[in-house]
């Protein structure tokens, strides 16, 4: 999901580094999404035999997002065979899933699946995955009363709620002493509408447009990666300025058009502790191939996509192995996606990978 920096933007930021004025903190104007021909050749799968064959045969990648043929009619995955649990594997599973050394009962367990079930029933799993998620979806640690991702993730995992609830669930997150309270709220939207999250990612766009929050919504749900760019000292940084030149693509043209998405979000008023939010007034926006009425429609569309499922299982791989999946691990990855799609919980998605025989190789 990485969008390489457009070359003119990169050149600008390199040449005028000392003159840079931080205008749009966090994301700023994440200029450019057009891939450089060279970058495409270097990073894209054009390097692989399969991709070369596809290019030769004229196959195209174009499929409607979230409605791929594979998603509609997935081919059956090979069944999981029971795998004997070695001591070394018990250590690996225990530390990866709970952050703890294996206890004697786990070491006495004979089969990987049973060991995984024991470990994932532990509150230590909810704690570890909530921490992991917090670190993946935020740039840095925060105070306990300003940490909605961690507290909601832990709530969702511990109560076996659908993982999508983290992003679209109807919850309220309120600061309390030593943490945050999670309660039901019909107007909630995961943690995205919590006051502390909005303040954290309100950004500093001059007119209060929440570009940083818009980027975070895309990043958190689909793993979108953008390289932040910076403006020149005399550059027009208003929406009008961002709608021209190399900034136009990220802000108004690409599938994640940040300014368009931000119109679905509130507008920031005031600074620091005095920040308040005014409701959006621009009305429905055309984005992600449809007219989106509000931020709920935006996030729900993102969460209903292949991109969301893919990003969640890539995170599951990072959690289990400290790295993303590779080509040889495609079947294990597909098991994760299938478990997430059918059983809905992140516990099921992690278990699907953790029980794969390759984990203990």
């Amino acid at each position: 999901m990485a969008a390489p920096l457009h070359s003119p933007c990169a050149m600008k930021s390199g040449r005028r580094l000392l003159l840079l004025v931080p205008v749009l903190a966090g994301l700023a104007a994440a200029c450019g999404s057009t891939e450089l021909p060279g970058a495409r050749k270097k990073n894209a799968p054009a390097d692989t035999d399969r991709a070369r064959e596809e290019e030769k045969s004229g196959q195209t990648d174009a499929v409607d997002p979230g409605t791929s043929e594979a998603a509609k009619k997935p081919s059956p995955l090979p069944p999981l065979e029971p795998t004997a649990l070695t001591k070394r594997c018990a250590v690996r599973l225990s530390i990866a899933l709970t952050g703890k050394s294996p206890d004697p009962a786990l070491l006495a367990t004979k089969e990987v699946g049973a060991a995984v079930d024991k470990l994932m029933a532990s509150p230590d799993f909810a704690e570890r995955y909530a921490r992991f998620t917090n670190a993946e979806l935020n740039g840095a640690p925060a105070a306990a009363s300003e940490d909605p991702v961690y507290f909601l993730a832990k709530h969702v995992i511990a109560n076996d709620k659908p993982w999508s609830d983290l992003f679209t669930g109807k919850y309220r997150l309120e600061p309390i002493e030593g943490g945050m309270r999670v309660s039901d709220d019909p107007s909630g939207l995961g943690y995205f509408r919590s006051d502390v999250w909005r303040k954290r990612y309100a950004g500093n766009e001059p007119d209060g447009v929440m570009l940083s929050a818009a980027f975070r919504i895309f990043q958190n749900t689909t793993g979108l990666e953008l390289n932040a760019s910076v403006g020149n000292p005399d550059e027009d940084r208003t929406a009008k300025g961002r709608s021209t030149g190399v900034c136009k693509s990220c802000h108004f043209q690409d599938w994640y058009a940040l300014d368009t998405a931000a119109k679905l979000l509130p507008t920031k008023k005031g600074e620091d502790m005095e920040i308040t939010f005014a409701p959006p007034t621009a009305g429905p926006q055309q984005l992600l191939g449809k007219a989106l009425a509000d931020d709920r429609a935006l996030v729900e569309t993102l969460v209903a996509s292949d991109a969301w499922r893919f990003a969640q299982c890539r995170n599951v791989f990072k959690f289990m192995f400290g790295r993303q999946e590779n080509k040889c691990e495609a079947v294990a990855f597909d098991r994760c996606v299938e478990a997430l799609s059918t059983q809905k919980t992140i516990r099921a998605a992690v278990a699907a990978l953790a029980k794969d025989p390759s984990v203990c190789k």
Binding site: A70, V91, R131, A144, T222, G289, C328
Partner: protein, 203 residues
């Protein structure tokens, strides 16, 4: 001087482990080019389509299925790990928390190590090992070193050590550290070298 000798002992075990990993592959030209590390028979993956209409699975690294699995154990497990292997938790472990890169509350960080942290790890291991070899009053022989190395490696690595691993450990105890006149110190250094090697420090 003592520290240098300790580190040399640990380094010999590290180097040995690295050689072992390399020995899993033959020396053909094919492997020199690194093709043994790539996925030679990739499964046909399901396809996932992004909002930009690209296939999301296409940029996966071309690596073998069990590559890059070893990760450093986090600080949170080290007390239990030392206890499991040595029967004691080294007193120097808790103050070394920062050397292990432990994550703050509600946060997660993949442990990484530097020369400083690896030195600290050796010293923590030596601290714990010194307490556990207090009863050893005779210098290691091939026989006693073999038994010691096999037993400790099995506990530390959570699997049976290879013959080569044991041989290197025995050589360290009987030859490379032969100039260490303090017998307990010699056993402790052998022990600490095992607890500084990657099969113990990773999972």
């Amino acid at each position: 001087m003592q520290v240098k000798r300790f580190l040399a002992a640990a380094a010999s075990v590290f180097a040995f482990v690295a050689c072992q990993a390399g020995d899993e592959f033959d020396d053909s030209d094919q492997n020199v080019e690194g093709s043994a590390l790539v996925c030679t028979s990739p499964p046909i993956p399901r396809s996932y389509v992004g909002f930009d209409q690209n296939k999301l699975e296409q940029k996966r690294p071309d690596e073998a299925v069990d590559l890059n699995r070893a990760r450093f154990k986090p600080f949170s497990v080290m007390a239990d790990e030392y206890k499991r292997v040595l029967g004691v938790v080294p007193k120097s472990l808790a103050p070394a928390r920062e050397a292990f890169g432990d994550a703050p509350e509600r946060w997660y960080a993949e442990p990484t190590h530097s020369g400083v942290s690896l030195t600290t790890i050796f010293n923590v291991g030596l601290d714990g090992c010194t307490a556990t070899v207090a009863e050893r009053t005779k210098a290691p022989t091939a026989e006693t070193a073999t038994a010691f190395c096999k037993d400790l490696m099995e506990k530390a690595y959570s699997e049976d050590p290879t013959a080569e691993q044991v041989a290197v450990c025995v050589d360290l105890a009987t030859t490379k550290l032969a100039s260490v006149t303090d017998v307990r110190s010699r056993w402790a250094q052998v022990c600490a070298s095992i607890l500084s090697s990657t099969p113990f420090l990773t999972y």
